[in-house]
């Protein structure tokens, strides 16, 4: 038929249908008017990483042991960790500096996957706009630390699983400790020959990277 024809009228019918249905059907008007109403964030959504702590004090309860696994797994290298030292200069298992540059972070979750201590997790907060382009987006340890309760709030399912896993791990460690104690007691009873001393298994230390402070 002619150029103006059936197809065009059909198309106009579709747009007319959309026009009218947008007034009374929700799926024809899916817009969320942002500042007034906010889309619900589902609990699996991820954004930028944060650090978890147990208990009340952020620093004491910090789960992170500064093993730098996440620092090495980070593809854009936005994590920066310096280990803490005690007065004698001996390294202790917690970070003194733990920075994440969220302007570089690509939200890939690889740090979460490698962390053996369940210490780093993905946040779902998205209102992160900042006046300072550089330092404002560089989050330090204090800004990153968030309590376990917050984790339960944003990712309930995942948090429960994590807690279960940690409890199981702790129970296992407890059982091992008990077994070790029992063995030690038995060994003490049996009086092993001096010199044959069993050392407790030590965790292999990850190789250190040199860095300037």
């Amino acid at each position: 038929m002619s150029l103006i024809g059936k197809g065009i009228l059909k198309g106009m019918g579709v747009t007319a249908k959309n026009f009218f249905q947008s007034y009374y059907r929700k799926e024809r008007l899916p817009t969320v008017e942002y500042p007034e109403e906010k889309a619900t964030i589902n609990q699996f959504s991820r954004n930028f990483p944060f650090l978890l702590y147990d208990g009340d004090d952020p620093v004491d309860g910090m789960r992170c042991t500064a093993c730098t696994l996440c620092e090495r797994a980070c593809p854009p290298q936005c994590i920066y960790i310096i280990k803490d030292k005690d007065e004698n200069g001996k390294a202790i298992l917690s970070p003194r500096i733990f920075d994440i540059d969220t302007s570089v972070c690509m939200s890939c979750q690889l740090c979460v996957e490698v962390c053996p201590y369940e210490a780093i997790r993905m946040d779902s907060a998205f209102e992160l706009s900042n006046e300072n382009r550089f330092e404002g987006l560089l989050l330090n340890r204090e800004e990153l630390l968030k309590p376990n309760a917050y984790y339960h709030e944003i990712h309930p399912l995942e948090a429960r699983e994590t807690d279960d896993r940690m409890a199981a791990k702790a129970a296992l460690a407890e059982a091992k400790k008990k077994a070790r104690q029992k063995r030690a007691r038995l060994a003490a009873k049996n009086k092993p020959p001096p010199g044959l001393k069993k050392t407790p298994p030590t965790r292999k230390k990850p190789p250190q990277r040199e860095k300037s402070e």
Binding site: K10, G13, A73, M106, C108
Partner: protein, 383 residues
């Protein structure tokens, strides 16, 4: 045996046309509404007719390959999301497939099914978005595009629940997928897939019979069967030219041999065929999705992948049928955890080879829709 010369002659005597009028040189892009990103076409126009065209790219070049040759194999996975940023899932899969060729890893059944589901969902996302942009290039004021975005949103929500992110999914791992779909996800997926054909019907009523679209898109940017093969075109572009070559059927990678689906073939190789082939492919994707969701078995989602991925020296080329065409990853290992060579074979980059050939002799407006029908994403073209 003389070399087959299908390329049009290279050098035009540019300067004056038959009437002695000047040839107009227009740099279309990189800031142009319909070059789909930062792409540039240097056009030479005689009136409105394109007499020469030079594609210029590299504005989004991030040297993805160089970065990947500095980091370990698994660390490259999130970077692949950023190649074709509309289809993160298929990029992941293509990379995982190549890496799985380097080290033989058995992927569990369930993971294979989930991969098929997410890949076909990605195809839906890509095709309906592409058609939206294509009609936008034709001059429709965004209406089909916004309908496409409306539907895409639902699938992106699915991805967000599954992987945590909407576009930069980083979901597929060597030997499986990162996590199991949470409770209710499958049901929601089923619901969206079941509702999708209704949207497609509406979309087809809006577009396929429209006389203006037919007049604009038919017989524009024709690539014949032989030229299409010669230009190494892949994906819907190739099939629109009448070549029955779908890597899902040819390679049968993953578990595609278990699904009953057909490959739509076009007869003319013009813009309208490319548009229609994508339209029909979406219906086939829905068909695959329904089967995959129905048959999804219980079980593991990760195979026995080594903790540190250190393949033996060797090389592997893995390719999948990404929504835009053949997406290949060519990996060379030298025995270290870091790839020695990491090469991406992006479909839209190679499909652009035919752009000049398709555009010559057409009008400016046609050059725009031909570019739209190629379906480029500059993240992938420039890497």
């Amino acid at each position: 045996m003389s070399p087959v010369q299908t390329m049009p002659p290279r050098s035009y005597h540019i300067g004056k046309d038959d009437l002695g009028a000047d040839i107009l040189e227009v740099a279309m892009g990189p800031h142009h509404p319909s070059t789909h990103g930062v792409f540039r076409m240097d056009l030479k126009l005689d009136g409105e007719t394109v007499v020469d065209l030079k594609p210029v790219f590299g504005y989004l070049h991030r040297n993805h390959e160089k970065i990947a040759e500095d980091i370990t194999y698994p660390m490259s996975m999130p970077f692949t999301d950023r190649l074709d940023y509309l289809c993160g899932m298929t990029n992941n899969w293509a990379y995982a497939l190549s890496a799985e060729k380097l080290i033989e890893i058995k992927v569990p059944e369930r993971a294979e099914y989930i991969r098929v589901i997410v890949a076909e969902l990605t195809r839906l996302v890509n095709h309906c978005l592409l058609i939206g942009f294509f009609v936008n290039d034709l001059g429709a004021l965004g209406t089909p595009l916004l309908y496409a975005l409306r539907e895409r949103e639902k699938i992106l929500d699915l991805f967000e629940v599954l992987s945590g992110a909407r576009m930069m999914v980083n979901y597929i791992r060597f030997g499986g997928v990162r996590c199991d779909p949470p409770d209710g996800w499958l049901k929601e997926c089923q619901r969206i897939v079941d509702a999708f054909p209704a949207f497609l019907d509406e979309y087809e009523t809006l577009l396929t019979e429209n006389e203006i679209i037919i007049a604009r898109a038919q017989n524009v940017g024709v690539v014949t069967r032989e030229e299409a093969i010669n230009f190494s075109l892949t994906g819907p572009m190739l099939r629109a030219s009448g070549v029955n070559y779908d890597i899902r059927k040819v390679d049968r990678y993953g578990i595609y041999d278990r699904f009953d689906f057909k490959v739509p073939i076009g007869g003319h190789g013009d813009c309208y065929d490319r548009f229609m082939v994508r339209m029909l492919e979406m219906r086939q994707s829905v068909k695959i999705l329904k089967q995959a969701i129905r048959d999804l078995p219980e079980g593991e989602i990760m195979g026995k992948a080594p903790k540190i991925f250190r393949p033996a020296p060797g090389e592997a080329y893995g390719r999948i049928e990404a929504p835009k065409g053949e997406l290949g990853f060519y990996l060379i290992s030298d025995g270290t955890p870091i790839p020695y060579r990491f090469k991406v074979r992006p479909p839209s980059f190679v499909n652009l080879t035919a752009l000049r050939h398709m555009c010559l002799g057409h009008k400016v407006a046609d050059a725009v829709i031909i570019l739209g029908s190629i379906d480029i994403v500059l993240g992938e073209v420039d890497r």
